[in-house]
Amino acid sequence: MKLYCLSGHPTLPCNVLKFKSTTIMLDCGLDTTSVLNFLPLPLVHSPRLSKLPGWISKDGTINLEKELKDCAGRVFVDSQPEFCLPERELLDLSTIDVILISNYHCMMALPYITEHTGFTGTVYATEPTLQIGRLLMEEVVNFMERVPKAQSATCWKNKEIQRMLPGPLKDAVDVWTWKRCYSMQEVNSALSKVQLVGYSQKVELFGAVQVSPLSSGYSLGSSNWIIQSHHEKVSYVSGSSLLTTHPQPMDQSSLKNSDVLILTGLTQMPTANPDGMLGEFCSNLAMTIRAGGNVLVPCYSSGVIYDLLECLYQFIESASLGTTPFYFISPVANSSLEFSQIFAEWLCHNKQTKVYLPEPPFPHAELIQTNKLKHYPSIHGDFSSEFRQPCVVFTGHPSLRFGDVVHFMELWGKSSLNTIIFTEPDFSYLDALAPYQPLAMKCVYCPIDTRLNFHQVSKLLKEVQPLHVVCPEQYTQPPLTQSHRSDLMLELQPPPMPYRRCSVLNLPFRRRYERVYILPELANSLVPSEIKPGVSVATVSAVVHSKDNKHTLQHGITEVKVEETADGHILHLQAEDTLIQLEEDGTHIVCDNNEPLRTTLRDLVLRFLQKL
């Protein structure tokens, strides 16, 4: 059993498990942090961004004026932003049988894998994962296509040139694997390969293994996966949460008794408690609005935003923010808000019960009804005529490199009254803000990451007791900035097996057993003899028939009489009335009127003779 690790990002994993005769890809995360090296794509012409000086090396030998721009003391690539793809050289991706998706954030690289690699398998995901994943992909494609950039910068990727560039471009890794965003057509094609599954539904893969998704409590439809054969069990734990937010709670008990547990997707902010961050978010928001400023919240169009809106719904009155408009701007804003209301079976119990009442599960419906929350596909159109300040704007992309958020950064960045509140933990806020410096607006970093923290995961592992744990290497040591926090790492016995990008791990357990079925007729013919009380044995002579990884014992040749001759042996298959004469200088098979049997026997004998 082997694990191929194609991504180094612990929360955006992409691993391939070879188990029995199957090749299973576990998640398909796309590392988008690479976009931080690119210039923002403004929706409206920005004089500032369009007049940036090009980069020329100090000695003038390298001139990349067209590709690289100097902005706020840092060098950025001036082209359409590119993403860092999972490793594609480690193994032949066309051999992948299935891809299991655990949540909508972990499927963003799907089109890169399913298209143009010869992939012919199936992708398994839950319905909300597929639908919301589609929205997120659609949103990114839309953001990119709205601001087309003909130029594609490649010269800077040349190793010799990259070495000469200033940081952080100089330190960027695997830049040749970076790719531009896919098209909508590729998205549709990739998603057409998705087959929907429900929690605890068992899917047979070629009769060899069975896979089954379990609720992971992190987002709508998010799942962990159990991959098991008759005698082995592998658990794949991706983004999971034990907090009471909107999704169905995490199913922990089904993870028990695993031989191997692959652990990914722990919180990226182990020291930031989500509740505390939510409180920070609200108080900073209220503080800004009271002082007459605007609040910008760069966020994804699905996920934590539902909880943020729910929290604000309760907070608005107490903070006297009743008249402040809240805007949600995204090409998929409407679909996201509406989808969240219809996936009742995937919601937490509390919200599920609301389905039976005449009220929607999420209170953002009421905010929309009362006109407190308004959503628009983009800043163009209706929004521009209805826009009132001071206000709160939720919009993407959290990297601040593309999407409507770029416009608001340009618009509000110069006033110290305004505040930008980062809630998504995926990007370093300082890097995100780099091309906007100097910035007068206040910045508040309240990353809300509801995924398991180290304390919770230690407790979970104590309970489910896997034999071996495999995890990204980042989890096996304290964070670099807080080396004294030994509580922020996994301490297990035996120690977890760490992996990094491009690792190939031999998972430390051997398959010892295989289930074999006995046909009833054959079973009837067995004569067990008791060797000690309760234990009987019988010798079985039969033929193993294997098909679709299912093995069956059938009647074969049972009565064989061996006679010694001067030159060798004669095997007399009595029931078949056949003789096999084995002599030093020749072998004869005497079999009347049963040509297929004769051929089979001939082949068998030849194989054995070869071995001899």
């Binding site: 408690n273 939510l278 900073n284 503080m287 009155e317 107490s318 903070a319 004294h484 926090r485 030994s486």
Partner: protein, 907 residues
């Protein structure tokens, strides 16, 4: 005793003796016993006053078929009856006593199994045993053994009562023996306190023979203590625990030679118990040792045995037990330098280990190792650290030579611990993996944070810690800024900050950066999502305004709010925003904080700002419209504070503020007295009282506060007579009181349905009456003497309270007319006080006016005060009512037909 009660009691006894199940409720018997207790304490002889009780007891005691609760009641009642020697004799002579307390009698009837019988038996004996005869009775009946058995009864109540009883017996024996042996009781008071009223009784009856009996009792009890102290197996721990409790009780109350005898008897067993090291018994054991030790220390030089035991306790190997023992010792506050220093070292050890600061110069390696091992366990680490922190402030108050390190170092350790809790820093000694393992146990523990903050607050008063102010300030601001701090932690951080600033009044070490950080964090917390946090923040702003500090040596003292937050320009807008909060507690706190913030400007008589005028308008709106009582109460208190500060500094009153204050006060009085919340009304009356104080201060006959509390023979200070009684003055003042609405507020309060409101109003009206038209003058004199004052009138509008007052006045007038009196006819100026007249008056646009003096004299205020002073349930709770209830319940039971419900057919 009430005659009516005496007459009812025989019937009640009959009812109880017949069947107890017809009681109105299960507390009736307890209430009856309470009544008897009261009577006994008042010195009433129950048997003399209620001879029926003897018959009741003898009837009941023979009827074992009765409800056990009645039997238990009878046992306890017998104790009360036999509390005097005379009654005891009567009971003994009639053989009732023997039967009542005869164990065999109850056992044969199968009733002894019922715990209520056992506890009745113990309590009856305990109550009775106030004189030597009862003690003799106890000894001769050989009740000691059963009592010792009951000490380990399965019912905790029984066991505890038996323990108390044993202590009582022993102490009684001690008193009687000492009297009998002519040992002068130099600590008679002690005995009276501890053992009951034995000292009052005559001891002449004590013979040498009984003395021997008592000695036998003492020996038997001591033997039992010795024997049962050490548990033979784990199941006997409960018994040991009981014995230890008893022993602690005895050692604290007995005197030599009994004290020595007891100690001698149990010393070995205590030793054995110490060595056995049962953790559950550590605290009770420490109680025993400390009881012996305190007694000893108070009397003379400590006994060697006790000192040794104490030293042993403070060197136990088990860290958790050791900490408990040290904390118990320190809490006693005994003057013992050696052991105090030892306890302090023990209690500082966990802090020393976890913070890596060298608080202790020397510690036994083994003790340190054991403690560290214990601290590696998260649960015990947190509990040990919390015990240490709880005792830290007390340690810093100890003599310097007892402390292993200066208080400043302890403050540093607490700060370091708080940093560990927030996960911000590693322990300085983190080089050792052991320390790292320990310190990570406290990361994120809000329990430790809370204890540490409490300790930090208390440590502010320790000598020499002022130098830490800046560091404390920084850390507390970090705590306040931390998104993960829970509301209690934030509240405690705010409290600590205020405390440190109030103690270290010199803020010169606080930099501008500190101030900026605090401003930022206060602004953020005032918008917090949790109302508790917003409330704490607002409270903090108010408290800070009350702290006087010096910023630099050159500057004058100012309040801390000005010094660190920039004063009103920062706080007032925040507080005004908090007035709009959805949570009423926050609104109320904001109003109080505003009062505290503005207090300084009121006191200085500063000119009123536009903002203050707006605040007043906002507050009056809150009083009128706020749906919650808290906020409205706070508004009235705001005006009370304002008015008080103006009154106390009347010399610097600014006319501008008066021009806003007095009309506002008038509005507050009228709105507050019409409020639905009784506390708002009481506060409104307080405001009215302030106005009365202000108006009549120095006026003859005016006493501040509660008139009924003044002693009739009290010497009236001369200052009260300084102002001459000038009728014109009084008229002027009374007129202003009427105009401000004080009189209306008082009158409306008088007829309020809430007793506290009516009571307060009544007292104030009496005070007012005594100043303007004292009753002592008599009607005719009054008319003549106060002809001018009587012309001061107030309006009685058509609303509820005024109608009530009018009715009362009319009634009074009718009564007076009927008696042929002269007063009262002219009380109400309108011709007809009936409904028609009122209507006519209101139709005509006139509001009827009445003379204030006449109203005050006609309202029978003294009678009203008398009624109001009694609690509202005084009728319901009287013994008479209880007896009547018992009789009624019994008759209802005997005539079940009358109780049948009306059954209606429903189709």
């Amino acid at each position: 005793m009430d005659r009516e009660c005496v007459s009812l009691l025989p019937r009640v006894c009959e009812v109880l003796a017949a069947s107890g199940s017809s009681l109105p409720d299960d507390t009736s018997l307890e209430k009856l016993l309470d009544w008897f207790t009261g009577l006994t304490k008042a010195g009433t002889s129950l048997l003399e006053s209620c001879p029926c009780l003897l018959e009741f007891i003898s009837t009941v005691v023979h009827n074992t078929a009765l409800d056990p609760s009645i039997l238990s009641f009878t046992l306890r009642l017998t104790g009360f009856v036999a509390v005097t020697e005379v009654a005891f004799k009567v009971l003994q002579e009639s053989s009732v006593l023997d039967l009542v307390f005869n164990l065999q009698h109850w056992q044969e009837a199968g009733l002894w199994e019922d715990p209520c019988i056992r506890i009745g038996w113990i309590q009856g004996l305990r109550t009775m045993m106030q004189h030597p005869k009862a003690l003799s009775f106890f000894v001769q009946a050989d009740f000691l053994q059963p009592l010792l058995q009951l000490q380990t009864d399965k019912s905790l109540f029984v066991a505890s009562a038996a323990n108390q009883m044993l202590a009582h017996v022993l102490l009684s024996c001690q008193s009687v023996s000492s009297v009998g042996s002519n040992d002068v009781d130099e600590e008679g008071e002690d005995v009276g306190r501890s053992g009951g009223s034995i000292a009052d009784l005559e001891y002449s009856a004590v013979t040498v023979e009984t003395n021997q009996d008592y000695a036998a009792v003492v020996t038997a009890i001591s033997e039992c203590l010795k024997k049962s102290l050490v548990p033979r197996e784990n199941t006997q721990l409960h018994q040991s625990l009981q014995i230890l409790k008893l022993l602690a009780l005895l050692l604290a109350q007995t005197r030599p030679p009994l004290w020595e005898k007891l100690l001698q008897m149990v010393a070995d067993s205590v030793d054995e118990l110490l060595v056995a090291g049962y953790s559950q018994l550590i605290l009770p054991l420490m109680d025993v040792i400390l009881a012996a030790y305190s007694c000893d220390v108070n009397r003379r030089a400590p006994d060697q045995r006790v000192s040794r035991l104490l030293s042993f306790m403070l060197n136990i190997r088990k860290p958790a037990d050791l900490i408990q023992a040290a904390a118990a010792f320190l809490r006693r506050g005994l003057h013992d330098l050696v052991h105090t220093a030892q306890s302090a070292r023990v209690l500082l050890l966990p802090l020393d280990i976890i913070t890596g600061l060298n608080l202790l110069t020397t510690t036994a390696d083994e003790q340190r190792f054991l403690m560290m091992e214990q601290l590696k366990n998260k649960t015990s680490c947190i509990s040990l650290i919390c015990v240490c922190l709880t005792n830290t402030p007390q340690m810093t108050l100890m003599a310097a030579d007892c402390l292993p390190c200066p208080p400043v170092l302890i403050v540093t350790a607490v700060l370091s611990l708080l940093k560990l809790c927030s996960g911000d820093s590693s322990s300085p000694s983190s080089s050792s993996s052991g320390c790292r393992e320990v310190s990570r146990n406290v990361i994120g523990s809000s329990k430790v944070q809370k204890c540490a903050l409490d300790a930090l607050t208390a440590l502010s008063g320790s000598p020499g810690v002022e130098v830490k102010l800046a560091e404390v300030f920084t850390l507390l601001v970090q705590c306040l800024d931390n998104p993960d701090s829970d509301p209690t932690v934030l509240q405690k951080s705010f409290q600590a900050l205020v405390q440190w600033m109030s103690v270290c009044s010199d803020l010169s070490s606080i930099t501008d950066q500190h101030r900026q950080d605090l401003l930022q964090v206060v602004r953020k917390r005032s918008c917090d999502i949790r109302w508790e946090v917003r409330d704490s923040t607002v409270e903090f702003l108010g408290r800070l305004a009350g702290v006087r500090v010096i910023q630099t040596t050159a500057e004058e003292a100012s309040d801390a709010s000005v010094a660190v937050l920039g004063g009103c320009c920062f706080t007032t807008p925040l507080l005004r925003a908090a007035l709009q909060d959805t949570e009423s507690y926050v609104r109320a706190s904001a109003i109080s904080a505003l009062a505290q913030t503005l207090a300084a400007s009121w006191q200085q008589g500063a000119a009123l700002t536009q903002e203050q005028t707006e605040i007043v308008n906002q507050l009056l709106e809150v009083l009128s419209w706020d749906t919650e009582g808290f906020a409205r109460r706070a508004v009235v208190r705001y005006f009370i504070a304002w008015l008080s500060s103006m009154s106390s500094h009347s010399c610097v009153q600014s006319p501008a503020s008066s021009s806003l204050l007095m009309p506002s006060v008038r509005s507050v009085l009228s709105r507050g007295s019409a409020d639905l919340d009784w506390e708002v009304k009481v506060h409104t009356l307080e405001l009215a009282e302030l106005l009365l104080d202000e108006a009549f201060s120095g006026q003859r006959g005016y006493t501040k506060g509660n008139p009924t509390q003044t002693h009739p023979y009290a010497v009236i200070p001369n200052t009260l007579h300084t102002r001459t009684h000038n009728e014109e003055d009084v008229v002027g003042v009374l007129n202003s009181l009427v105009q401000w609405g004080v009189v209306s507020a008082l009158l409306s309060g008088l007829v309020d349905c809430d007793r506290p409101v009516a009571l307060r109003a009544c007292r104030l009206l009496i005070t007012l009456r005594e100043v303007v038209c004292p009753l002592s003058l008599g009607a005719l004199d009054a008319t003549a003497a106060m002809a001018t004052v009587a012309r001061v009138t107030c309006e009685l509008p058509g609303c509820g309270w005024a109608r009530e007052i009018r009715k009362m006045l009319v009634m009074k007038a009718k009564d007076a007319n009927a008696e042929g009196g002269v007063s009262g006819g002219e009380v109400v100026n309108c011709d007809d006080c009936g409904e028609a007249g009122q209507e006519a008056a209101s139709v005509g646009g006139q509001t009827p006016c009445v003379s204030v003096c006449e109203v005050l004299r006609s309202l029978d205020l003294d009678e009203r005060l008398d009624v109001l002073t009694r609690s509202s349930d005084h009728v319901h709770n009287s013994p008479l009512s209880l007896l009547q209830d018992i009789l009624t319940a019994s008759s209802a039971r005997s005539q079940p037909d009358t109780q049948q419900e009306v059954i209606a057919d429903c189709y």
